[in-house]
């Protein structure tokens, strides 16, 4: 079971008065405090995208800095090359990836304490597919079990490197993903119970794969044929006496058996495109997402808007990206070489999963078997507050989200009651990085390289706005009172000590 301090247990220095919340969650505080000694003397791990179970929440009680910048409270920094993948931290090492010179993938390890370069590996990227900026060819965040670092690059597959030396351990090629709209790969692996679990939801052959962490051999593979391209990271949910791998995808939140990859349950409440990752707290899965268009806008709309390049309302083989031409015939039911009205309805997607766009924030109780849509959906908010890119943060009793323009909202996780809605945090622009939390603070990274620090709690309070000097797409890592901030070109370690 995963624990993190509630906002009430680790007060921020500038936290507002909040008597009602404090008293309400006093029991939670007691539980957390009781568990704190377990963490003492052991370096905090942030071993994958957004840390433990992709939660974005630090379990450390070491104070985190509020005010900092690219030249203030920087314990070390390193030039690592262009990248958007998140740093990870394990056993005193920080791992980052980069894509340099238009043809080389880089994986490097730095000492978490002093930034010393421990090792650096380069890999020829090979022939690269089309992608859409700001996505990068090295956008997948690695994962580690402490001994090995698992890195995914779309043209190479999954690589395992020795965490201490960077030496090759194994390499498992995976089918190169294909995206109808050329978004490009950006899925990240996780490590669970000796397995490297990787969900590759693309538009061609979406699948969930488990590899043996020691050998790279495939444990199991489960096709996800009713999915479209998406980037949700798998999360582990323990509920109702079972452990599930939970993945949000097109229209459906699904739970899989980690031992064999079989699908256990599905909750059919999501939207067409899922780029955000869910978070789990106390057996409940929280999701926030936005998919362009309204509920009726299925893939057909995008096909006609962007792929139908002569705008005649039909899709020809020539207009179809090369990777998808082998599947053209399946959709072209009358065989006339054109996908027309009725055929476009279901082209390149599963006919029994025709979800459209919109926005939603949901809480779904984990566990169960079969279709749990009617039984496990706890609450569902349909409003315009979620981002299509930024995952939600659940910390303490609040769910926090932020979207383009620095517009933030927060909800009580119990029933979805609004704490604040669509309020500005004072930093404009795009947001790709997901918020993280620790020490009673929420760190919100804007693409413009400013990190806004908020007080964790029921009211929006901006504590600081910190300039990291250059754009930032990656989500920061937190370990032992330090923030590891990966800007486009550098990694900064920021902390009070």
């Amino acid at each position: 079971m995963l624990f993190e301090p509630t906002w009430a247990s680790s007060p921020a220095r500038h936290r507002p008065n909040r008597p009602s919340w404090f008293s309400q969650f006093l029991p939670g505080l007691a539980v957390t405090l009781a568990l704190l000694p377990l963490n003492r003397g052991k370096a905090e791990e942030w071993p994958q995208f957004r840390g433990p179970n992709a939660s974005g929440v630090s379990s450390s009680t070491t104070p985190l800095p509020t005010e900092f910048s690219f030249e203030n409270k920087v314990l070390w920094r390193a030039q690592v090359g262009d990248g958007v993948a998140c740093p990870i931290v394990s056993r005193g090492r920080v791992f980052v990836t980069a894509f340099v010179g238009g043809k080389t993938f880089v994986v490097s390890a730095h000492g978490a304490a002093d930034g010393k370069l421990l090792w650096r590996r380069e890999f020829d990227a090979g022939k690269l597919p089309r992608i859409t900026p700001p996505n990068s060819h090295a956008s997948s965040t690695p994962a580690t079990d402490g001994e090995r670092v698992f890195c995914y690059f779309s043209t190479l597959g999954m690589l395992a490197l020795n965490a201490e030396s960077g030496a090759d351990l194994w390499k498992t090629p995976l089918p190169q993903p294909a995206y109808l709209m050329d978004w490009g790969a950006a899925s990240s692996p996780i490590v669970y119970d000796g397995q490297v679990i990787f969900c590759q939801d693309d538009d061609l052959a979406p699948r969930l794969v488990s590899l043996d962490a020691r050998t790279g051999e495939q444990n199991w593979q489960t096709a996800r044929p009713d999915m479209l391209a998406g980037y949700a990271v798998p999360v582990i949910c323990e509920a109702e006496g079972q452990v599930d791998i939970v993945i949000s995808g097109s229209g459906k939140l699904k739970g899989y058996n980690p031992t064999n990859g079989s699908e256990r349950w599905t909750c059919n409440t999501l939207l067409r495109t899922m780029m955000t990752s869910p978070v789990v707290k106390d057996g409940v899965v929280y999701i926030s997402c936005q998919s362009y268009g309204d509920e009726k806008r299925t893939l057909k709309f995008a096909l006609l808007e962007w792929l139908d390049t002569d705008q005649d309302g039909e899709l020809t083989l020539e207009e179809t990206p090369a990777e998808f031409r082998p599947r053209f015939g399946t959709s072209d039911r009358d065989g006339n070489g054109r996908l027309q009205e009725a055929e476009l309805d279901t082209a390149f997607q599963s006919p029994d999963n025709m979800v459209g766009g919109g926005a939603t924030i949901q809480a779904v109780r984990g566990g169960g078997q079969g279709d749990i849509t009617a039984t496990h959906l706890l609450w569902n908010l349909k409003n315009t507050s979620p981002s299509n890119m930024v995952s939600p943060l659940v910390v303490g009793r609040q769910l926090f989200i932020v979207k383009r323009g620095g517009i933030s909202s927060s909800f009580d996780i119990e029933k979805g009651d609004t704490l604040w809605k669509m309020s500005r945090i004072g930093n404009l622009g795009d947001y790709y990085s997901s918020p993280v939390a620790g020490d009673g603070k929420i760190y919100v990274t804007g693409e413009n390289g400013f990190i806004t620090v908020l007080a964790q709690g029921p009211k929006l309070e901006v504590l600081a706005k910190n300039d990291m000097g250059e754009p930032c797409v990656a989500t920061p890592a937190i370990a032992d009172g330090r923030l590891y901030i990966r800007t486009r070109e550098q990694i900064f370690c920021v902390g009070d000590r």
């Binding site: 690219f70 690269l128 597919p129 089309r130 900026p133 700001p134 709209m181 050329d182 808007e305 962007w306 792929l307 139908d308 390049t309 002569d310 705008q311 020539e318 207009e319 323009g405 004072g426 930093n427 404009l428 622009g429 795009d430 693409e447 413009n448 390289g449 400013f450 706005k465 300039d467 000097g469 250059e470 754009p471 486009r488 070109e489």
Partner: protein, 735 residues
């Protein structure tokens, strides 16, 4: 390792070092035959061709004087006059002009090879670049793009001869404003020059202003001290600005060659290195060079030398010009002007031509009647037109400069021409220290004087005519152009590819350029000189001019297809046709309603906020045109090959910028109206919308920024709009 193994190891290491490291032989072997005695430019052409073939086919080229012994694609560089390998085809070699070049499949002995040659070394270089073009390479202004699937590598069935229909193809650079090449360092200038050579432009014109740090002179004990770029403005790019990633952490936007330089001497040296480097590089690429300056404007520190001189008020009062006290024959004025021109020629003795621009805003018109009498007499005008007739013509024409402004321009031009005739009568003035005489070219002579130019222009001088600020407006004045007897003197026309008044917004006007090229050919003009600030939008224009200058049959449509199809694949060209149609329509609307709509100065957006009581309907039309163009560009991008996306994605993001810019302008106008009406809520809401739209606009621009002009737009709009508007918004929030 033990000691006894060391010698063996050393031997092995030696073997490794002695073995040539060959590149992986992925592509075909090709031969490029070049005569060892060939001129340097032809040797360069051979190396350039080798590079192109490697980029296109991963071909491993062998350069040498002999035909290969193996049967492999063979390119023979030069002509029978410069390459002995072509002696066998000397009798069938066509007569080429010094700019004519050919690609011809010929039989040499028992094999067919491709002759790649020209009537001069630079023409041979163009022939080498033409090989790349024929095989699918496209030379965009920022770099080459090679198709994923080039045409099959063959040397057979070529018989192409290229002769220019316009012999002088001039590309202007430096100029003014952060959004223009004034912000480019030498490295960026050189990159552009290499591309221009591939596009067969053959003259580089460096346009400079008196306040800039590009030439030094002294006069009567006063030394030039002004060395400003961008009219002396500074553009901060630190802190919370939009699109900041393009500045890589810099605090101030700078031309990289002047970074951190504040001292006059250091800036002067940097400036001379920059311009000298441009001129030298142009020469190395076979181009001729020109320097454009205003001979009647001087930095203001020279005011004490010229009593009665008047400050020239443009964007900043940085210069002086002659006032009523100075007659055109004024000896001090003549000497001061000579000092400035000699300063230019001393700094740049490699110059081929000196372009002398007549002031854009002349105030020196009181002497026009007496100047006209002198001019007419000296030029032997018969019959002598009356000055009043010329004035009437200048007043009544339909170009932008007409009415009172037209009359002032005409009168000022008459005085200036009188002055220049006297100035250029000194045969030593334009003698370079390298022994040659630099050709003078008079720029922007008033159109009312066009019919008289063969008489008014000093012997040996050329002219560079200017009709109006935009290509469309100029094309509408074709009747004026026909009054210039271009065949009687060396004349070119300024072709505006993008105007600084329309400013930071995307612009395109290839159909108007096409009309003007037809007029130039018909009128016997030598050629053209480009006018632009931001190069990113201009690949289509530059390509059209490049191809049409050698082939009168080229149209805007065939040029677009020729540019796009090899890069992006079939299907994209139709979408891009719509993209450019949208840009052209939007540009036309802006020209029609508000020529200075996005002029890159401090008031660029403020004027829309502080003035006006309604949102003009045409703003919405322009915004929709940009939106339509953006969508089409994204469709083209979707359809395009990876290689072609350098073109399509740039356009998509530029139009994204433009669409958001229009959203910003509209919201700003509404915010301003609300503010003046005391409607605080609407004011704040619209201001918020404007700031966000501008942020999005600048981020879109930043996403594809690849030149310092692109970065200059971001710097300018942050300085003059984003930062102050955001501050105002934050202040409102505080309230």
């Amino acid at each position: 390792m033990t000691r006894r193994w060391l010698p063996l190891f050393a031997f092995g290491a030696g073997l490794c070092l002695a073995t040539p490291v060959l590149p992986a032989a992925e592509g075909p072997a090709v031969s490029i035959v070049i005569d060892p005695q060939a001129p340097p430019l032809e040797q360069f052409a051979a190396r350039e061709l080798a590079g192109l073939l490697e980029s296109l086919y991963k071909a491993q080229a062998t350069l040498g004087p002999q035909l290969p012994t193996q049967p492999e694609p063979t390119f023979v560089i030069g002509s029978p006059a410069t390459n002995r390998a072509l002696a066998a085809v000397a009798t069938t070699w066509p007569k080429l002009s010094d700019q004519g070049h050919l690609l011809r499949s010929v039989r040499l002995g028992d094999r067919e090879v491709l002759a790649v040659g020209g009537g001069s070394p630079v023409a041979t270089l163009w022939a080498a670049y033409e090989v790349g073009h024929q095989l699918g390479a496209r030379y965009l202004l920022h770099g080459d793009v090679f198709p994923a699937e080039p045409s099959p590598l063959t040397t057979a069935n070529f018989d192409l001869i290229f002769e220019p229909t316009l012999r002088l193809r001039t590309w202007r650079t430096v100029n003014d404003f952060p959004i223009g090449p004034e912000s480019w360092g030498l490295a960026e200038q050189k990159q552009m020059l290499r591309q221009l050579a591939k596009l067969k432009y053959n003259r580089i014109l460096v346009s400079i202003y008196p306040w800039q740090p590009f030439l030094h002179f002294e006069f009567k004990g006063v030394a030039k001290q002004t060395s400003l770029l961008w009219f002396g403005k500074t553009y901060r790019v630190d802190g919370d600005i939009a699109g900041r990633g393009v500045f890589k952490g810099a605090k101030v936007f700078e031309n990289p060659d002047f970074a951190g330089l504040t001292d006059y001497q250091a800036r002067r040296e940097a400036g001379e290195r920059l311009v000298g480097g441009i001129l030298d590089t142009a020469h190395e690429l076979g181009m001729t060079t020109g320097l454009l300056l205003s001979p009647l404007e001087f930095p203001r520190e020279f005011a004490p030398n010229l009593p009665g001189a008047e400050a020239v008020h443009q964007l900043a009062s940085l210069t002086i010009g002659p006032g009523a006290q100075q007659r055109p024959g004024d000896e001090t004025l003549q000497q001061l002007a000579k000092a400035q021109l000699r300063g230019a020629l001393d700094a740049y003795p490699q110059l081929d031509a000196l372009y002398l621009t007549l002031p854009e805003f002349p105030g020196w018109s009181t002497h026009a009647p007496e100047a006209w009498d002198r001019l007419a007499t000296r030029s032997k005008l018969s019959p002598k037109p009356r000055l009043e007739e010329l004035v009437q013509a200048a007043r009544q024409r339909t170009v932008t400069v007409s009415g009172d402004r037209g009359e002032a321009a005409l009168r000022g031009n008459v005085a200036a021409l009188d002055f220049l005739q006297t100035l250029l009568a000194d045969p030593a003035l334009l003698r370079s220290s390298r022994g040659h005489t630099v050709q003078p070219v008079l720029v922007s002579v008033d159109p009312a004087l066009f019919p008289l130019l063969p008489q008014l222009v000093p012997g040996g001088a050329g002219t560079l005519a200017f009709l109006d600020y935009t290509a469309r407006k100029s094309a509408a004045q074709r009747e004026l152009l026909r009054t210039l007897p271009a065949s009687q003197l060396d004349s070119s026309l300024i072709l505006t590819l993008a105007d600084d008044n329309v400013g930071v917004l995307p612009q395109s006007s290839v159909p108007a350029l096409h009309e003007q090229l037809g007029e130039l050919r018909a009128g016997g003009f030598a050629g053209f000189s480009t006018r632009y600030w931001m190069p990113g939008d201009l690949d289509y224009s530059a390509y059209y001019l490049s191809r049409a200058a050698f082939d009168a049959e080229v149209t805007p449509a065939t040029a677009l297809s020729g540019l796009v199809t090899p890069l992006c694949g079939a299907g994209a060209v139709d979408r891009l046709k719509l993209v450019f149609a949208s840009i052209e329509e939007a540009t036309a609307l802006i020209e029609q309603h508000d020529l200075g709509f996005a002029f890159p100065v401090a008031s660029i957006l403020r004027k829309h906020y502080e003035g006006g009581d309604s949102v003009p309907e045409w703003w919405g039309q322009v915004g929709q045109l940009y939106l339509r163009g953006m969508n089409e560009a994204y469709r083209a991008n979707q359809r395009s090959t990876l290689e072609g996306r350098t073109l399509t994605l740039y356009l998509a993001r530029r139009l994204d910028f433009a669409f958001n810019y229009m959203n910003c302008v509209e919201a700003l106008r509404k915010a301003g109206i609300a503010k003046r009406a005391g409607d605080a809520e609407t004011h704040a809401a619209q201001l918020q919308t404007a700031v966000e739209a501008l942020h999005d606009a600048l981020n879109a621009q930043a996403a594809v920024a690849r030149s310092n002009s692109d970065r200059g737009v971001i710097a300018v709009l942050n300085q003059y709009a984003y930062r102050p508007l955001k501050q105002e918004l934050e202040a409102l929030d505080q309230e």
